[in-house]
Amino acid sequence: MCPGCTTALAIEGVTAVQPGQPPRVDLMEDAKRTLAGPTLPDPQKPGEKPDDEPLYAARKKIYPQNVSGTFRRLKWALLIVGLAIYYFLPFVRWDRGPNAPHQAVLIDIPGRRFYFFFIEIWPQEVYYLTGLLIIAAMTLFLMNALAGRVWCGYLCPQTVWTDLYIAIERWIEGDRRKHLKRDRQGWTFDRAARAASKHFWWLMIAWWTGGAWVLYFADAPSLVKDLATFQAPFVAYAFIGILTFTTYALAGWMREQVCIYMCPWPRIQAALTDEYAFNVTYRYDRGEPRTSLKKAAALHANGQPAGDCIDCLQCMYACPSGVDIRTGPDVACIQCGLCIDACDAVMAKIGRPPRLIAYDTEVNIERRKQGLGPLYKIVRTRTVLYAAIIVVVTAIMTYTLATRHNDGINVIHDRNPLFVRLSDGAVRNGYAIHILNKTLETQSFVLKVSGLADADVEVIGSEARSGGDPVIDVGPDQSREVRVLVTTHQRLGSEASIPVTFTVVPAKGGMAANAADHFLGP
């Protein structure tokens, strides 16, 4: 059928419904509702009081139509790559020797370690997470300043899983038209069987999603075995259950409602965007006034203006959020680009140039209306600022990660008593010393105290010495706290507070770690 005729048919459909007839889901009615926008109720009729407006709006079921084109292909590619990483990454092995797990990506909560290929993060290094979050936020801002809601349209898990669920839905219940027709026919055995099958597959995907999630928190192959034999800890089953439910509910039932009502990002990005940012845009300067093919030909013949938009509603049918892109920027629009593909297909059929809907900027539409050429401004204050922050934070992170120590030392001076007078008049201070060994072998550390003349250093529970200095063994990938006593026979001034430095040097050689503290006297 010619897309341009759809509207005409639709109007016939509407008029055919007689008063008193039960309301039906109808192609045309659906289109009319979608035209009104996904969230807004029907426009106020004259004379109707505002108080009669509904306080709560029911969700309008969306039947997104399948499209093919550049953006659809891009979305499939990102979906396949993203989901493949998510589902299979826990099974990737990484040899770390006998004293650490062999999983490339592992969040070891009981052991308080995070492993990411060659990087191992200890809890006190959580600032790397802070840095990552800053980079992530700034990347989001930068993407938004350059090309709008790239995250929402292509990368957000909500979008990716919803896309997958819609694909399953189409596969079982048919594309838009078939699905609508089936729904209109009421409950038949065929429809029930298809619905059951759809929910079964949705639940299977949801279950696998939850299952993959828990694999990041334990050794994946053995956890899979434990899960299958019901030997896994309860918390694993609980989290699989929770994630199965959230995936099924959010991607199967909630869909665009998540983006419109639950996610804060649409609101934030609306405040961050500007007139130079590329957004999925209906080029109304070219499309308006919209009119059918025949009428357009007539108008052109009379020398009157007619736009390229033939009001075929294909952009709306393709939209997973039920948005009419032609109404301008919309908080519900995730900018997935599927309307571009839909419109391009129509433009190709009717022999008009593509990209009536395209990634475009507000500035260029205005300039075209004034007969000016396009103006692209990638380098703007905000993009430079976002990029600079990303570069600086990445540089700092890389530098600190590359130069970080494999060992560490923390010192806490005894709070009570601050110092001890011994029977021969010597003064002693007690310290709790925490030594970190981030290598994957047992290491011996030589403890040296500098800054205090005539200092005698003793470690409780460790007699070993190397050249007079105490030696402390710390197990692989572990930390150890020891009590250290520093005694001096030196005559101290009144209320002495002498800066001292504690140094641990790996006995086998390597980077030394320092910590500063004080030696206090009477």
């Binding site: 807004l40 005894d414 001890v420 007078r421």
Partner: protein, 293 residues
């Protein structure tokens, strides 16, 4: 009045407002989604279910118990049992290991110090201070001067049976009240106090008769404190020649001690604490820094 621009009108032909207007600013009518309302109802139903299942409502003399009979004290008991189970293997080692073995095994030492530290804070810190630093009349446990001995065995004995605690095996013996009980005259006490100060090299009153002080000391004090004043641990007599003073080195304090005597009391903790806790406490006190081999 419709004051939208032409483009606005073209792009958003239908826009619902609440009809409210303030200084030309109109309020869009954006109703909440209905599922939000359902969630709200669901929370109410959840709350009712919660009241039925868990303790919830105060009644006149009691409260509604809930059908699963949940009680926060049961949770505490379960948690404590889980803690004991978790500590079990280390606890068993602590019970069987000797005090020396505990100190030479790093894991056991850490465990004993952690356990001992808690017990010390609960039971010992009121007198000996949070870090064992002591106070006037309450010995400092972190130095190397011990009234009753500083080996592991000595410390264990002192903790278990106490000092002048009424326990048969506790440490006995006290400093007599030489002045109050008329054993020494006032000026003898003043002279001997000066002599005691001289033992650890402290200044004495100008013109003090230290020879007479030494005579008085030999006749009255050396029985317990030893001929050189080095003390005697079997009766808890302090060493008077070192730098550590339980009550203070001032002449007045020493005179006061000789006149009125001393006899501080430490309870016998064996009656209150279990043997493992005392073991852990012993190790903890021993590793303050002053422990003797």
């Amino acid at each position: 009045m419709d004051d939208r621009t032409e483009d606005d009108r073209k792009l958003q032909p239908q826009i619902a407002t609440t009809g409210h207007e303030w200084d030309g600013i109109r309020e869009l009518n954006t109703p909440l989604p209905r599922w939000w309302l359902w969630l709200f109802y669901a929370t109410i139903i959840w709350a009712i279910g919660y009241w039925v299942v868990y303790p919830a409502w105060p009644l006149v003399s009691s409260y509604s118990k809930g059908i699963i009979n949940w009680h926060s004290r049961d949770v505490v008991a379960t948690d404590l049992a889980a803690l004991q189970a978790q500590r079990g293997p280390m606890m068993a080692q602590l019970v069987s290991a000797s005090l020396q073995d505990i100190e030479s095994t790093p894991e056991l030492l850490d465990f004993a110090r952690a356990l001992g530290g808690r017990a010390f804070a609960d039971n010992c810190a009121p007198c000996h201070g949070a870090g064992g630093g002591g106070a006037k009349g309450y010995p400092n446990l972190t130095d190397d001067d011990w009234l009753w001995g500083g080996t592991l065995a000595d410390i264990s004995q002192t903790i278990t049976h106490g000092v002048r605690s009424g326990d048969d095996q506790g440490h006995q013996g006290s400093m007599p009240a030489f002045g109050r009980d008329g054993m020494l005259k006032r000026d003898d006490i003043i002279v001997v106090a000066d002599y005691v100060r001289s033992l650890s090299g402290l200044s004495t009153t100008p013109g003090a008769d230290l020879a007479r002080g030494a005579k008085i000391f030999a006749d009255n004090c050396a029985v317990c404190h030893g001929p050189q004043g080095k003390g005697n641990r079997s009766v808890g007599a302090p060493n008077l020649t070192d730098q550590i003073w339980l009550y203070g080195p001032e002449t007045k304090t020493i005179i006061d001690g000789i006149w009125n005597g001393h006899g501080g009391v430490m309870p016998a903790w064996g009656a209150k604490l279990d043997p493992v806790t005392i073991k852990a406490l012993t190790v903890y006190v021993h590793t303050f820094g002053g422990g003797e081999k």
